[in-house]
Amino acid sequence: MAGGASATAPSTYSPSPNQKKKPPLFKDGDLDWVRPDGREFHQCRPAFFRTGAVNAAAGSAYAEFGNTKVIVSVFGPRESKKAMMYSDMGRLNCNVSYTTFATAVRGQVLDQKESSSMLHKALEGAIRLETFPKTTVDVFALVLESGGSDLPVVISCASLALADAGIMLYDLVTAVSVSCLGPNLVIDPISEEESYQDGSLMITCMPSRYEVTQLTITGEWSSARINEAMQLCLDACSKLGKVMRSCLKEAASASEES
């Protein structure tokens, strides 16, 4: 910690472990490093989805990828707020928020506005907005615990919640990110890996249509590397799509039985 007893010290502080400098996750050229959770570079965390997590909502889903846990609720289609102009297309309204205990340090500010707008952009291309004119569908996400790759998990979970709410979709939207750590590409990074990353690439796509709805890149990339990372993500997206589809099927068959 820099500046222990400075005048601006907060009234409370988190007793973080006594580490002057964190050891780097891996050293350059060290080919034997392993990921903190023991996964292979191109291996995703096991994904768990469940629909119908929130009864008060029209549709909802819970997703858990390792330590990343999110709930998404969908409300509507319902009346548009704020004296909006007539529109023969439906509107999509997205919001992402974090619990105060989502991050290791309590109440660490994360950019919720950016996540909300990214969620909107990732989903809007997959929703048949013309099926609910004049009305709004609200997609609200709450990140219970942030364990890395939060945004991709929120996006996948949101598309499942939309399906659960019976909103017409062209296809589910699945999202996967990769981090660039030195010479390696690691898929579905955890928070620790994200904090060391040299760059990241996130794809959201509709797996059955094989279309990219959103793509963001940060860091320095060559075209060949982008190609490699995209292929990696797209493969993972199509696998994730199967997991999500089977979750929906299970929910549907369970409701038929009861």
């Binding site: 988190s14 007793p15 319902r78 619990t99 105060t100 219970l144």
Partner: protein
């Protein structure tokens, strides 16, 4: 069109679900006269209740409580503070109750629900006045350092009786709380003793020997009831709360003493007998909840 007779005539022809939406009060009263509620509960029974501990890995103590479909997630994070001059040997507790937009169609982002700050205050008052937590146990070094327990409760699904579920999750989170082991560093700040070093010889003596539990005394439990005409409905759902507007919330501690009693106005004026009945119901409910918490603790300890 709105006369009672007209309603009576329609009721025979209308579909049940349509009737429920158009004339909710009549729909309910019809049920209540048969001593049953639309969800098949007797009037004075609470919904199925589940408590599970340790739901949030990144916190020092956490719990998930579910009453029917009302779901609450509570988590405690411990931070170090300088105790106040008035009470140098006491720690402190901060309670915040959140209603994120996911929990209910009536909450919208950017406009926090009105009930949230009110419930925060009620929870804080209940937890402290019940005498459950001895604030002296949160002290580290007298006058220098003490623990601040930040309790955040998130409503994940709002279906009535929010206060009861929130209090239950808060109590459960405190029973799951393990205070981290810390030691004083050179700069006079507390630092966490990392897991690898625990049990080994340290150059600095930790303030505590091991991860400590709080000894919880006289735990508060609550039950909310609706008063409607002569009926008393325990543990209302969201639908019931929105139709019938008089609630009584009774909070008792595990020694059977009354911690608090809220009745926030409403069209029904309660007789003392009704209040006594509510207290009696809470006493019954307290036994159920105590068992549920004990069971949650014992399953956790087996794991």
């Amino acid at each position: 069109m709105g006369t009672p007779n007209a309603v009576g005539d329609w009721s025979s022809e209308m579909e049940v679900s349509a009737f429920r939406r158009l004339f909710p009060l009549r729909y309910y009263e019809r049920h209540l006269s048969e001593s049953i509620r639309p969800d098949a509960r007797p009037l004075k029974r609470a919904r199925d209740t589940i408590v599970s501990l340790g739901a949030v890995a990144s916190s020092d103590g956490s719990a998930l409580a579910k009453i029917g479909s009302t779901t609450m997630l509570a988590a405690i994070k411990m931070e170090v503070m300088t105790p106040s001059v008035d009470s140098p040997d006491e720690g402190s507790v901060a309670v915040e109750f959140h209603m994120p937009p996911i929990c209910s169609p009536v909450v919208r982002p950017g406009r926090p629900a009105e009930v949230a700050p009110v419930t925060s205050k009620q929870l804080f008052d209940c937890l402290l006045s019940s005498g459950m937590i001895d604030l002296k146990e949160l002290s580290l070094i007298k006058g220098k350092a003490a623990w601040m327990a930040y309790l955040d409760i998130y409503c994940l699904d709002a279906d009535g009786a929010l206060f009861d579920a929130a209090l239950l999750s808060a109590v459960a989170a405190f029973s799951h709380l393990r205070i981290p082991v810390v030691s004083l560093n050179d700069e006079g700040r507390m630092v966490m003793v990392s897991k690898e070093l625990e049990g080994e010889k340290l150059d600095k003596e930790p303030v505590d020997k091991e991860r400590r539990k709080l000894s919880l005394k006289s735990i508060p439990f609550s039950l909310t009831c609706i008063l409607h005409k002569n009926y008393i409905l325990a543990d209302p759902t969201f639908e019931e709360e929105s139709i019938m507007e008089t609630f009584i919330t009774v909070v008792l501690n595990s020694s059977g003493q009354l911690v608090s009693l809220y009745k926030s106005g409403g069209p029904v004026l309660a007789h003392t007998s009704a209040i006594q009945e509510c207290v009696a119901l809470t006493r019954q409910r307290m036994k159920e909840l105590e068992e549920i918490i004990d069971e949650a603790i014992s399953t956790m300890e087996i794991d």
